[in-house]
């Protein structure tokens, strides 16, 4: 209803609609566009890095700019590309999969997005104001505390603001999944994607506070003269590393787990089989989440923690290979004997298995603390984490986007173009990163601006750069596909893949209230249960009645805008106290908006039964 209205009212109304929306499906679009944009920026930075390393002693970009490039590439890809794209999927799919009409806190959902976006924008404004952060995405002290200029200040403020958004989003999805499941949807009937999002949200809840604390300490060290990380004044630089990795290691599971869930749904749908070992998969997901908190120090084996600490963290790290292995085998057994359809989504998923397994294997190699002294800070590590993050997260994002695109936009991404995008990306990915393992073993350190001639590193680096270009070509073809599909493709039904879970039981894209009547869930893969009994759709759990929906609001945007303005005040008040005026203005806007929200009752609105019946007549509820 509201989408149709918005289209009739022109561009301005549509922009206002998106600025104020609290609808999880539209917030998913916002996350997708913003995350996609930052993904392209991060990709561009990666290309510049690879061009710089194309030949020995290259001077394509300067050493200082190179440091900024590697820092911003890592930070952008993790915090501003992968996280929001995952949030896009979570928003688009989770409420539909559990049979809910929205998330538990629609207002907070919107606030989470705008905080993330403004945090990301702060971070990238630094390019135009005298230099981006340049202390690596890990921002280790004391390099970061003495880094000249304001680059690292931008890092601190940007991540603090976008981190708050992520934390809000995580809590929101926890509450949503605990409280808003449709009747009959017990925990052990939730689709694996929902399970994975549930565990991920718990990880966000427990891991992000460590980052928040670390960033606050860093902020006070850089802006207000404290000495938490200053060894000369009795501080300790290692504290930052611990805080960062107590957050940072769970963070990599926050990235990969939702896509493990998406792969599970994709494998089961396109093999026309229920997921093999569902309960083992749930157990493995929870176990990975649990163990994820006990392994952070494997990033710090060479810090000098001593042999006992190193051994404990080494063993804990290797233990994670067990639940991950369970998952890999269960995916293969799901496909075994299934009626497999090799769609583009399936192609990315199948390619993920060997790629990710290679990454997992080098992970176990790195987990051996004694051997890690050789690998540490070499290209071997770079190869390893790109294998898990690109081979796992990026492949997963492409697969999940192909899979859920029809649910989000009502059109199937062109299959031919999808496969055409896959091949250059897949080949380019292995070209880029496989060789980096060997470069690392030959002794090429990571984060170095140049490498020298005659050390046997030329061929490997050239191959790596060629691979990066192939990946760029794959990405461009995917973008062409998105445009092509939105212009040329025809609308499809609500269930184009012959799906198994609840989101496929409603039209594509769904009406803004999602379910005309809340469905009754009678088993795992609820839609499939109904289909196998010869029914077309879900059995409703309630009579047709009025639906209560939240109102749109501009306040989340204003709250975030206030913090954005205040952020600049905090960064520049070091130079001149007059900048504090921005802090007061920004915080005033933020706190004033929060006060408005608290004092003004907003009880939402009702969609009446008659309107729903009208929608049903138009075929919206089929």
């Amino acid at each position: 209803m509201s989408t149709a209205l918005a289209q009739n009212r022109g561009l301005g109304a549509m922009i206002w609609d998106y600025l104020t929306t609290v609808d999880h499906k539209k917030i998913a679009h916002l996350y997708l566009v913003a995350g996609g944009f930052f993904f392209l920026i991060g990709g561009l930075e990666a290309m510049l890095i690879r061009i710089q390393l194309m030949k020995p002693d290259n001077d394509f970009i300067s050493a200082g700019l190179y440091n900024e490039m590697i820092t911003m590439h890592g930070t952008t890809m993790i915090f501003l590309a992968a996280m929001p794209l995952i949030f896009a999927l979570m928003n688009a799919v989770v409420p539909l999969q559990i049979g809910a009409r929205d998330v538990a806190f629609p207002f907070l959902n919107s606030l989470g997005f705008w905080l993330f976006l403004f945090g990301g924008v702060i971070l990238n404004v630094s390019w135009f104001t005298g230099g981006a952060p340049d202390a690596g995405w890990t921002n280790y002290a004391p390099l970061s505390t003495v880094s000249p200029g304001h680059g690292v200040d931008y890092y601190v403020m940007g991540l603090q603001i976008s981190g708050a958004g992520t934390l809000i989003g995580g809590i929101n999805f926890l509450v949503t999944i605990v409280n808003m499941r449709a009747p009959g949807m017990t925990y052990m009937r939730m689709p694996l994607f929902t399970w994975a999002v549930f565990v991920t949200s718990a990880l966000i809840l427990f891991a992000f506070p460590a980052l928040t604390v670390g960033l606050f300490l860093m902020m006070f060290d850089r802006m207000f003269g404290s000495v938490f990380f200053d060894t000369a004044a009795g501080g300790n630089a290692i504290i930052w590393e611990h805080l960062f990795w107590i957050f940072g290691h769970p963070e990599v599971y926050i990235l990969i787990l939702p896509l493990f869930g998406a792969f599970s749904d994709i494998f089961s749908t396109f093999s026309k089989k229920r997921l093999f070992g569902y309960s083992a998969m749930v157990f493995a997901t929870v176990l990975i989440g649990f163990l994820g908190f006990m392994v952070w120090a494997h990033h710090m084996f060479t810090v000098g923690m001593g042999p006992i600490a190193n051994s404990i963290f080494a063993v804990a790290t290797m233990a994670i290979a067990v639940p991950t292995g369970i998952k890999i085998f269960n995916w293969m057994f799901t496909m075994w004997g299934g009626n497999i359809r090799m769609t583009a989504a399936m192609l990315w998923s199948v390619a993920f298995i060997p790629s990710f397994t290679i990454g997992g294997m080098t992970g176990v190699m790195l987990a051996a603390a004694a051997a890690d002294y050789q690998y540490h800070d070499t290209y071997f590590v770079v190869g390893h984490f790109h294998y898990v993050i690109v081979g796992g997260v990026v492949f997963g994002l492409f697969a999940a986007l192909h899979y859920w695109w029809p649910k989000m936009f009502g059109k199937i991404l062109n299959e031919k173009l999808g496969k055409l995008a896959f091949w250059p990306f897949f080949i380019g990915f292995h070209l880029t990163f496989f060789i980096q393992h060997f470069l690392g073993l030959m002794g090429m350190p990571r984060r170095y601006w140049v490498f020298l001639e005659g050390q046997g590193l030329e061929a490997g680096n050239l191959i790596s750069t060629i691979g990066a270009f192939l990946m760029a070509i794959g990405t461009v073809i995917f973008l062409v596909n998105v445009v092509y599909t939105s212009v040329k493709a025809k609308k499809v039904s609500g269930d184009p893949w012959d799906g198994r879970t609840l989101e496929w039981s409603i039209p594509s894209p769904p009406p803004h209230y999602n379910f005309t009547q809340t469905p009754l869930v009678r088993g795992l893969d609820p839609l499939w249960v109904e289909k196998s009994e010869g029914k077309k759709g879900m059995t409703p759990a309630e009579p047709l009645g009025d639906i209560h929906m939240p109102n749109a609001s501009i306040l989340p945007f204003l709250i975030s805008l206030g913090l954005f303005i205040a952020g600049f005040g905090f960064i520049y008040q070091v130079d001149n106290k007059a900048w504090l005026i921005l802090v007061f203005l920004g915080m005033g806007l933020t706190l004033g908006s929060m006060l408005t929200r608290s004092l003004k009752d907003d009880l939402g609105h009702h969609i009446h039964k008659e309107e729903l019946e009208k929608d049903l007549e138009k075929g919206a509820g089929e």
Binding site: L174, V178, A202, L205, F206, A207, A210, N236, I238, I239, H242, I246, F293, M294, A297, M305, G306, A309
Partner: protein, 107 residues
């Protein structure tokens, strides 16, 4: 309890009994918490050696927190499993962090 087979009269009776039981537990735990507080203050006033004092104070504090959570905030009642999982999960992460900081970083 089976609501279907009860008359409203019986139901009221049952609930009253439940409330009485609940009240009794709350009063007992409240009295114990006051007692613990007196013991804690007394121990500090009487200058008992710190080797014994600090662990005892911590123990008393933990017991009081548990009383708070389970009796006053109803965690002992049904339907609080997820709350418990989340709280103990968060606690585990926090304790792990503190252990790491006190053993690895500062010895």
């Amino acid at each position: 309890m089976d609501n279907q087979s009860q008359t409203p009269q019986q139901k009221v009776e049952f609930e009253r009994k439940q409330h009485k039981e609940e009240m009794k537990q709350q009063v007992i735990s409240f009295a114990l918490m006051i007692l613990f507080t007196f013991i804690a203050f007394g121990m500090v006033l009487l200058d008992i050696g710190s080797v014994f004092l600090v662990p005892t104070l911590l123990l008393l504090a933990v017991v009081q927190v548990l009383f708070q959570l389970y009796y006053f905030m109803h965690m002992k009642n049904k339907g609080h499993d997820m709350v418990a999982v989340m709280m103990y999960g968060g606690l585990a992460v926090a304790i792990l962090t503190i252990i790491a900081f006190t053993t690895i970083i500062w010895w």
